[in-house]
Symmetry: C2
Subunit: 199 residues, 2 copies
Amino acid sequence: MKTLAEPVSRLIEELSRLPGIGPKTASRLTFYLLRSPKDQSEALAKAIMDVKQKIIFCSHCYNITESDPCLICTASQRDQTKVCVVEEPLDVLAIERAQQYNGLYHVLHGAISPVEGIGPEDLKIRELLIRIQREPIEEIILATNPNLEGEATAMYIAKLIVPAGVRVTRLARGLPMGGDLEYADEITLARAFEGRRDM
Amino acid sequence: MKTLAEPVSRLIEELSRLPGIGPKTASRLTFYLLRSPKDQSEALAKAIMDVKQKIIFCSHCYNITESDPCLICTASQRDQTKVCVVEEPLDVLAIERAQQYNGLYHVLHGAISPVEGIGPEDLKIRELLIRIQREPIEEIILATNPNLEGEATAMYIAKLIVPAGVRVTRLARGLPMGGDLEYADEITLARAFEGRRDM
């Protein structure tokens, strides 16, 4: 491919390293950027640099933040007795969007996955246990993903916390709103029956 | 979304402006970059800047290049009597990979598309006509895409060139190699019959 200028092939290569972006998409994006206004490419490059330079992890809850501790940890009107444990910063966003929860968070940065070689020591679990000792926490809400890794992580954490006398809960499993019963998988249906409530 | 730091939301926004990347993919990429080594993000940002700073369009064939005129236009061993007309720089790459063609190129930067408001004056068609007058061109090979816009563009250009006495050809249409006859669409099959050859 001697006709492909080095800066072009390098950008294709760098874009290909992103998850879910193959060589074809990377080429398409590269040629899009080549043709787009200079402002747009510069804004994108700057945004990438800024995110690495300005964003840190909160030393308390390990969510992403510009200031440490983060805005959620320092919000006095939030319920300091509840901590919602999630896998990723994106999960915090999703829960905040739902506007249902007003406690604190703890971001694990992953889930236990023997297949990917991620053990409990790779997650912020020790940091969670320290928080439970030091803070007036009454309830830990385990909001890891409802899949194999998330369930395993929740069970692992629950076992560690229950002896500490803190209430440990897990988000309800059931039929998703707006979903169609006939398309629900067996496990979801089974959990929906288990968790049924009186009306 | 007050919990989302400004640099994070800005990167999500900038990534969402790229074609084929929605807000969900943009979030995923942003959090990937947040967690990836600093080197990788810096290399990506630099590659984006470099491509805009170092890559120009050849003033002759309008392909992308680092030097003007480009390496293909200045390659004396290439056949100067043939010009292959394509829509995009990526098409040049694809044809070069096939190692079948040894002439020059002319990149239109698009195809005629009334729906998208792209007319002949938005493409490098006038520049092609000037080349035909000035250069010893004997054959124009129209290699625009085999779809509605590409066909319309090819027909439009052919009408303009034929009076100049230059041979105008179009890439063969037929069954793609490695394809399955039973999955070929009607138009491809019809063209494959039309273009059948004696063995």
